[in-house]
């Protein structure tokens, strides 16, 4: 078999492979550091002291997988249907359906709680374009 411009073709393939495989050899086969969202804010620690456990609106596993749907449903419910209270399926407590005045009163560590995973997964929810994130000083861990 005769290949024309052998040198050009093979060096081209080499350059392409070098660029395309850059992420793999740049990481050297190591996985990027696993995100570790923190739930150690003063409000949550206080809650744990009083109740003997940490608990959210629903179970940890449910919140981890479904919090986007939860937030969407809450938003529609509050903005369009007047409902502002949500009764949990897991612990039957009533919660104020609000990001700024609900979620973030406990999870006051946006950087360690929200951004930790969102940055890792490169998802950029636009919540904070409008909603005001809590002030963070105490999370210097």
């Amino acid at each position: 078999m005769k290949i024309y411009n052998k040198g050009l073709v093979f060096s081209g393939i080499l350059v392409f492979a070098a660029i395309a495989l850059f992420p793999f050899y740049f990481q050297g086969g190591r996985a990027a550091a696993k995100p570790e969202p923190k739930t150690d804010t003063p409000a949550i620690q206080e809650y744990e002291k009083l109740n003997g456990k940490k608990e959210c609106v629903e179970s940890k596993e449910y919140m981890r997988g479904e919090h986007m749907q939860v937030l969407n449903q809450w938003r529609d419910s509050v903005v369009r249907d007047y409902y502002r209270g949500y009764t949990s399926n897991s612990n039957h407590k009533r919660f104020n359906m609000s990001l700024q005045n609900g979620c973030m009163t406990c999870h006051s560590n946006k950087k360690k709680f929200c951004d930790e995973c969102h940055n890792y997964l490169s998802v950029k929810p636009y919540c904070w374009d409008c909603h005001i994130a809590p002030k963070e000083e105490e999370t210097k861990s």
């Binding site: 449903q73 529609d76 007047y82 949500y86 005001i132």
Partner: protein, 276 residues
């Protein structure tokens, strides 16, 4: 297999119609999340409720410039409404966002200027805001249902859905809507931001919401609270015993541009004086 041109076109046509139909059907189903229903969700017990919220503006109670400023700034600080100023300190009209503001008589009630009107009425600024119409033009034109009517008469908007097309601004005969040309946070002082209420983002339209978020926790709108006593009255128009209903029944009130048929719910009491 052989197929003549006619059969090929038939099959191609039908399948493209089916495919197109399916894509339209799935694209128009905007809300994919399951809706939350009672008893899972409920209203706050302390919430103020009404069949039809309405407001009466008693202009005689606004006496000094300070009365206007108090009312307007109460609303604007509570809702994080940006205040863009030119270098010389005047309001930058290009970027101005307003929920409640002052307007001259001929702007408030155009076509009703009489030749020998009292100087007082002619020169007096009027407090104007969204009229929360019965049949709002803004809601009809909104392509994303970002603005909509709540059952209690409030014309509400969902900032999450607004795409900033500004059809509502063109449709509103009262100029009640403002567009965020730039990030509104640039027009807010960090230390004055109300942490309990969101700001808006660049590229959405905003306006007065009759303070739905305050009504839901049992408070009257911020402007009503801050205005001089009795200057702004807020209540249920459908309740025969409410203050607004009594005034609308007993006194002569006028509304802005009623001839357009949008059915404004903000009533103006001009001659004022003492009332119920």
């Amino acid at each position: 297999m052989s197929m003549d041109r006619r059969d090929f076109l038939k099959i191609a046509g039908i399948s493209s119609i089916l495919g197109f139909g399916a894509s339209v059907a799935s694209a128009t189903n905007l809300i994919t999340d399951k809706k939350l229903l009672p008893p899972q969700v409920d209203r706050n017990k302390e919430a103020l409720t009404a069949k039809r919220w309405a407001m009466v503006v008693d202009m005689s109670k606004f006496k000094a410039e300070e009365d206007f400023q108090k009312t307007i700034s109460a609303c604007h600080t509570f809702h994080n409404v940006p205040d863009f100023r030119k270098p010389d300190g005047s309001v930058d009209k290009k970027f101005e966002v307003k929920w409640i503001w002052k307007a001259a008589y001929e702007r408030t009630f155009p076509g009703q200027e009489n030749k020998y009107m009292s100087e007082h009425v002619k020169d007096m600024p009027f407090v104007v805001l969204c009229n929360h119409c019965d049949n709002p033009a803004c809601v009809r034109v909104c392509p994303t249902k970002a603005t909509y009517k709540l059952p209690d008469g409030i014309t509400m908007q969902d900032m999450h859905r607004c795409i900033g097309c500004r059809f509502c601004m063109a449709a509103c005969p009262f100029g009640a809507r403002s567009f965020n040309w730039v990030d509104p946070r640039k027009g807010l002082k960090a230390e004055l931001i109300n942490k309990e209420y969101p700001t808006r983002t660049k590229g959405v339209v905003e306006k007065c919401t009759f303070c739905t978020e305050r009504l839901s926790v049992g408070k009257v709108p911020a402007c009503v609270e801050a205005a001089p006593a009795g200057a702004l009255l807020f209540g249920d128009l459908e309740d025969p015993n409410s203050e607004v209903r009594k005034i609308v029944t007993e006194k002569l009130t006028i509304r802005r541009k009623p001839e357009l048929g949008t059915g404004p719910a903000v009533y103006y009491l001009i001659g004022g004086g003492d009332h119920a």
